[in-house]
């Protein structure tokens, strides 16, 4: 099976600053891949190129064999902050994902919005504005919006980075369940090892800038697809986490 998202000799520089060194990497469909690496190494840049928000300096990125040239709704973005529009209610934020679609009727849009409100436990907050709900709720709104838009690739840039530990844990569990149930391909950027191991089917570890792949870890082979919270307390999880930490210390050139 060929990769769904393919980095093909992709490299990126901003003026004289080399941010991503020539990289080739294929990501499978319906898997959750975590990009892990020291901050400032180029993870966001890699993800923005998949989103079509930045263009590679050389090489290209292919989605389903097709070259990515501009953003479109097949790839939805979830950011750490400013993830939802403060002037729209929760319901209308989710519906925003479909706002510019002419291929489905208003009734279908309303139906889909309702569906995702329920799925994310947001129905009671449908009429609330983002400033009135918790940070965790706001990130749920953002994820619901990308799903409502019909994206099958989710690009998540440290989406839980600003949340408290408990909320963060809960959202990680939910995200994993949704990924399996909705069959999405997710690229998840984080610099939190614990989060990476818990969520990932696969972890791609990048070096300090300019980013290059220094390790590629098949987490699914060791932890399986289902990730209940208790898995964090297993020995397998613990060992894997330590291995990743060790790699970060010795392979990325990160100063920790």
């Amino acid at each position: 099976m060929s990769a769904y998202v393919q980095f093909a000799d992709t490299a990126k520089s901003f003026g004289p600053i080399e941010v991503v060194r020539k990289t080739s990497l294929g990501l499978d469909r319906n898997s959750l891949v975590v990009f892990l690496g020291p901050s400032g190494c180029g993870k966001t840049t890699l993800m923005r190129m998949v989103g079509g928000l930045d263009q590679p300096s050389t090489g290209s990125i292919l989605l389903g064999g097709e070259k990515v040239v501009r953003p479109d709704r097949r790839r939805g973005m979830v950011f750490q902050s400013y993830s939802s529009f403060p002037w729209l209610t929760v319901e209308r934020n989710i519906a925003f994902g479909m706002r510019y679609r002419n291929d489905i009727t208003a009734a279908e849009k309303a139906e889909r919005t309702r569906h995702y409100l329920e799925l994310f436990g947001l129905a009671d907050f449908a009429g609330s504005f983002p400033n009135r709900i918790s940070g965790g709720m706001r990130q749920r709104v953002a994820i619901a919006r990308t799903l409502a838009a019909g994206s099958d690739v989710l690009l998540m840039d440290e989406p839980f980075g600003a949340l408290d530990a408990l909320t963060r844990e809960r959202l990680q569990v939910e995200l994993r369940q949704i990924q399996i149930r909705e069959e999405k391909t997710i690229i998840f950027v984080t610099h939190d090892v614990e989060e990476a191991v818990f969520l990932a089917d696969r972890i791609v570890l990048f070096s300090r800038r300019p980013a290059t792949v220094v390790a590629d870890i098949d987490v699914a082979a060791e932890l399986g697809p289902q990730r209940p919270l208790e898995i964090r307390e297993t020995q397998k999880f613990f060992e894997l986490r330590n291995r990743v930490l060790h790699l970060i210390r010795h392979e990325t050139g990160a100063v920790v």
Binding site: M77, S83, W87, Y100, F129, S151
Partner: protein, 246 residues
Amino acid sequence: MVELAVGVIAAALVVAAWEGAARSGMIAPQFLPSPSRVLTALWTMLTQQNLIWHVAVSTARVWVAFLLAAALAIPIGIVMSSYRIVGAALEPMIDFIRYLPVPALVPLSIIWFGVGEETKVFLLWLGTFFQLVLLVADDMRRVPQEFVEVARTVGANSRQVMTDVALRSMGPTLIDNLRITLGWCWTYLIIAEIVAADSGIGYVIWTARRFVKTPEVMAGVVVIGLIGLVTDQLLRLLHRRLFRYL
């Protein structure tokens, strides 16, 4: 509510002290007429000297100039921050003009436009446009990149990004900046009406001054203050109505 009461009581105390000082006879009435004399003057001006008409003329001048300034400053400010080259080209000039005090431009404006309405509107426009355009450019720059990118990802074109996201995101600060520059516009109005006018509230004050009618001068000042206060409060109310989500 408590704050409002405290504010009203404090203002009442100041007025009472003023009345007391004026009545004590220690200060000549042509310097400090009592509040009651000012009120009487105000009443006479309203009933016999067409004050309402002068106020209407001034208000119209302010709003015409202000709306002209806003109508140009909003699109130009947005373009300035959307296209770096435009910003780089315009910003130094605008910055220079912005620091010219409006009174310094009165003679030039009279040479160009004479002493008619054009001069007044031009001066007010001058005083607000250059300030506002930079404020708008700044508001636009502050629109989070994430909002724009989310919109582009779900298929918004440039125009939709502008109307559905950038303008919505700027809304609260934009309305605030409009409110503040409208206040400045009133300041320039008085200058414009003092130097070249035969109508308007500035003209009324200046004429009264020539005959040392201090109560009338003060009544005129009070009226300007009241208009400012009422306009400002109305715009604040509008702000709260429009941006309930804040």
